[in-house]
Symmetry: C2
Subunit: 461 residues, 2 copies
């Protein structure tokens, strides 16, 4: 395979022909992540390095040609951070897919970025350990992508997000230099925390080639309680009471009325037509789980629950969680979905949900609102007909209005999905001009040539 | 009070006379933190601002005069980070001492940096909440100082360190600009994580003027188990087995033989003369704590414990922890102490402790080694006679050799005390030249004039 493109020729000489792809169909298939409404450019080449040294070669070649680099994992992101830029080099981590070590003694795993989250989770579980970050995409998404977005998930309410489990990184900088950050030990404070700076940086500061991840002892099986309420207020009040009771639920999910009705229409779960909200909570505290679930159920009843169900075993628990798992398939037949990701202090959740309902009315769009209520992190999802240009315009306006509302309540425009290109224009509103300027200076310190995922996070694309 | 120093005059005009001190005796009393062997310069002025706006005025004045700024909390640090620099402005946070809010609903506290850790801990406990970071200095040290060093403590093994509880900060930059980082919500990923970058930066990136701290539900009372072993190996093996058993101890402390003997000499705790190591562990899992403590005791017996004690109530638990609390008073009569702070992966603890014993022999100094064994974070303490110049020189060599040993075992030169001036010359060895250069570029991005605590962390003082 000879190429008239000197960049392609250099990369093939360094990595071999099979690792460097420039077939237009292949490139076209790799332009997008899972974000709705984010533009994607036409890439120049796709490379699939298989070692840190090869990643360094790729970045040096890109630097020599002044070509922007977009790193891609499984492209399951929801903010366009992994979308191609015109003329870019796509750096796929697909072949950096080895679990290098799982240490029971040190309770760490050392992995390459292309390892799929579920694969890691199963490998460590086989040794009695637990890697908690569990984004909904976990069966497909990679650890590297989770690190790039600082992914959350269902169990964050008890265990925290991806950054809470990243101890150290090996990173290739834009210059092609390799740096190790952080540590393998549980604690360490030598110098500024570059590990945390790189986690969540969406491919703009470096390319992660190895991660040392903290693990926990595997928890005992979780039990589930679920409760339906006539109103949003009752469901949120019950969630708040559970959190304040110190029960440390390992999952705490909320579905608003429109979401619950969409699920009931999709599959009969016995949810009433007048449902105002549905709360699902779990405890994984082993011998205390049954008692916890009973207390959660009692708290829900005290807060006006219409129906309360308690699982007594894993199978019943799975069934009670089923409604949450059906959110995406249930919304899909209703139209195109634009998923938002605002997080607010829990005390502002009722105001957020009431405000979202008003925004839906104002812009004449359906907004379903599931979310990780224990963290105050909701996913208001605008559902619309993409073939109706006016509806699409209203959907986009509603999407922006939801973020403005979140900010006005002391929240953030993104709890776990990231900025990418989707939210870059709202970032200054959240950070302020001084904060945004500091962010730009950090980008400059790492990547003075602006080669790594330029236009993502910090600038409008 | 008029002053011929134009900086002092400007500060008095802005903050009032009482907030600006230049009496030489007062300045002299504020030159040092608690570090041994760290030089301290002669400050030019001490200011005690009482608001964010005043801190901004102070930094603008310092910038206008090109005067370096050293921020000080309670000066309980152990690495010289809060030591004066010749001609510097000392910025005391003593009057920024208000707890602004404790929210049960959002499980957060909002505080100024001068609040003492214990004061905050008691205030939140009164509302049924828990602020876990508990450095040994907690009755004296401030939240701001804890943030500056990313302080750890005894309960880190279960709950994590200071950075795990800092959600957001208000920071005054070297320019005098005020920036807010992070969030109040449990989750948030908008832009690079500046909060984590500032935590642990030892006063070199900005002056923290407000912190939003995550709280947890207060745990139930802890129960304690303690066990003595004939060797270091047995004690470490027992600790490893407890960690791997998934018992999630809320405290896991280790004392080596020399430390245990020093304590026994200081106060009769019934510890045998041939003691090789002492392990103390707690569980705060409420109804499961007694069972946990029994399992810990059984694990210790299986690993060769000579004596095992289990507390059945809070008073017995306190007594079993007493030996740990006596480490500092017991070592004090023996000579001057130089406390190190290495952390290694737990699998390397035996090698670390054996190597430390060899270093003690080689340099003919006493090294006592207590530590947070569950985190792999040990505090090898060199004890020597400061009036004996040769002994002092050997102590310093031994101190350096311990850090080299920690690094050679894949560890870090500081688990929780920080770099300050004490360890600045070892930092490059840990971070490597590329990593150190990145750190310098970040410092430059925040503080281009190098006004904030210059020479600390990054450069030899």
């Amino acid at each position: 395979m000879t190429s008239s493109d000197p960049l392609v020729a250099r990369l093939r000489a360094a990595l071999g022909d099979k690792a460097v792809l420039d077939d237009p169909d292949v490139l076209d298939a790799h332009r997008n992540d899972h974000a709705t409404f984010c533009t994607a450019g036409v890439p120049r080449v796709l490379v699939r390095p298989s070692s840190t040294a090869e990643v360094a070669e790729v970045l040096k070649a890109a630097g020599a040609f002044g070509v922007p680099v977009v790193t891609q994992g499984a492209r399951t992101g929801l903010s366009g951070a992994a979308n191609a830029i015109d003329g870019c080099l796509l750096l796929s981590t697909a072949r950096l897919d080895r679990i290098l070590e799982v240490s029971v003694e040190d309770q760490v795993a050392v992995v390459q970025p292309g390892v799929v989250n579920a694969e890691l989770s199963r490998a460590v579980l086989a040794k009695g350990l637990f890697y908690p970050p569990d984004p909904s995409s976990w069966e497909m998404s990679t650890v590297g992508g989770n690190i790039a977005t600082n992914a959350g998930g269902l169990c964050c309410v008890k265990y925290g997000v991806t950054s809470d489990f990243v101890r150290g990184l090996e990173v290739v900088l834009a210059s092609g230099e390799v740096v190790r950050t952080g540590r393998r030990s549980a604690k360490g404070v030598a110098g500024y925390d570059l590990t945390r700076l790189i986690v969540g940086s969406e491919g703009t500061l470096g390319v992660v080639t190895e991660a040392t991840l903290a693990l926990r002892p595997a928890p005992e099986a979780a039990l589930t309680a679920a409760a339906t309420f006539l109103s949003i207020e009752d469901g949120i009040a019950a969630a708040a009471a559970v959190m304040e009771a110190g029960l440390q639920p390992s999952l705490m999910e909320f579905l608003d009325g429109p979401t619950a009705r969409a699920i009931q229409d999709y599959r009969d779960m016995g949810l009433p037509a007048d449902i105002g909200s549905l709360l699902i909570a779990q405890s994984d505290r082993g011998p205390r789980a049954a008692e916890d679930v009973a207390r959660i159920a009692a708290i829900c009843s005290e807060h006006g629950a219409v129906e309360v169900a308690e699982a007594s075993d894993a199978e019943e628990s799975r069934m009670l969680l089923e409604a949450r798992r059906l959110v995406n398939p249930a919304l899909e037949p209703l139209g195109t979905t634009l998923v938002d990701d605002v997080a607010v202090p829990r005390s502002k959740l009722v105001a957020l949900l009431r405000g979202i309902a008003e925004i839906g009315t104002k812009y004449d769009v359906l907004i379903c609102c599931p979310g990780h209520v224990g963290d105050g992190n909701m996913h208001p999802t605008v559902v619309f007909d993409r073939n109706d240009a006016a509806a699409e315009a209203r959907a986009l306006e509603a999407f922006g209005a939801v973020m403005e509302l979140g900010l006005s309540l002391g929240g953030t425009i993104t709890g776990e999905h990231g900025i990418g290109t989707l939210k870059a224009r709202w970032l200054e509103q959240e950070l302020g001009p001084v904060g945004l300027d500091l962010q730009r200076r950090i980008k400059q310190a790492f990547d003075p040539g602006n080669l790594l995922n330029p236009g993502k996070v910090l600038q409008p694309f």
